[in-house]
Symmetry: C2
Subunit: 197 residues, 2 copies
């Protein structure tokens, strides 16, 4: 008998949720459909996740973990301005993998109104990103790059809203907002936050 | 027998779709559920909409029409800077009514990947707003308010992404991004686009 690491199995199931959501929408992500997608019985799936809510929460949380992993892999010795662009790029849908992750996020966001338990989870995603953008602005301040008259709290919120708006546009209208344009736009935004040098 | 204006009836049905989507998600917006919500038979509903896709498209298009109606009602004799804030406010979820409309948009956006026909419709919404923000930036230029070095195409895209990001935050996290904060943030953004006076 093959013993499977439960953690590995849970991740596989979460990835099965992703495939189902990308193909059929959240509407299709019943426990039955996900079990079939993963090639497991319903009973086996229930061994790893007690409910559909748990399964869906875990699969959205995995999106956050992927983002965190990309952030941890960044070269923190890069100059502040460059590092900050890398940070912002790490949370944006600029390639196939991150595009899929953003589509999952968007599917959950559109459904949270009516799906119990998702709201709290989306709060976590929101607060995590807000915190990250706070650190970004703070890093610019510490490097003496930011225009001194700026309201840092407001700039954090503005950067967060701009990034989320760009993420929505990049995944839903990739022909009108391709990755290069997203990057150029953010570079321009960060440029404006910084003092003329 | 009461004769109902077909146009009025179609709008009533679209509003029934809205109520169902806000309560149960797009997942709940079957022809059967919408007919029940509107107090009509399935047969009567089919008299007005040949398919679920037609019904859903019409109900999303109605969101766009409401926005257009708000834009038409604006006082175009207001000073450019003020008028432009009014325009931006008209497309944002700043009260209960517009919050509902944005929630509908978000539900459709999250589902469009998998719901045939929605993609084209979301293109219309996107292009309509992009055009509107182009007009906003153009109006600022004509009033000689915009900093001359700005790339107008890029500023149009940035304003559009910022507004959509704020719309997402305002409806999904109203406690963290209340209407006053949305307005203050946009005022600051428009201020930055304009020349120091």
């Amino acid at each position: 008998m093959v013993v499977v690491d439960p953690d590995v199995r849970r991740r596989e199931l979460a990835e099965a949720v992703w495939r189902v959501v990308l193909r059929d929408g959240l509407i299709g992500a019943s426990v039955r459909n996900v079990a079939r997608e993963a090639g497991l019985s319903m009973g086996s799936l229930r061994h790893y996740f007690g409910s559909q809510a748990e399964l869906l929460s875990f699969s959205l949380r995995l999106v956050g973990e992927r983002t965190t992993a990309r952030l941890r892999a960044l070269d923190v010795t890069a100059p502040p301005r460059e590092l900050i662009e890398q940070v912002v790029h790490a949370v944006l849908p600029l390639d196939e993998e991150t595009r899929r992750e953003t589509q999952i996020w968007l599917a959950f966001l559109g459904a949270e109104l009516t799906t119990r338990g998702l709201s709290k989870l989306n709060d976590e995603v929101y607060d995590g990103l807000r915190h990250l953008f706070g650190l970004v602005i703070q890093a610019l301040v510490e490097a003496n790059l930011v225009r001194p008259e700026l309201d840092l709290e407001q700039e954090t919120q503005r950067l967060h809203a701009l990034v989320d708006g760009l993420a929505v546009h990049a995944v839903t209208r990739p022909d009108r907002m391709p990755a290069d344009q997203v990057k150029a736009l953010l570079a321009h935004h960060l440029e404006e936050l910084c003092e003329p040098t």
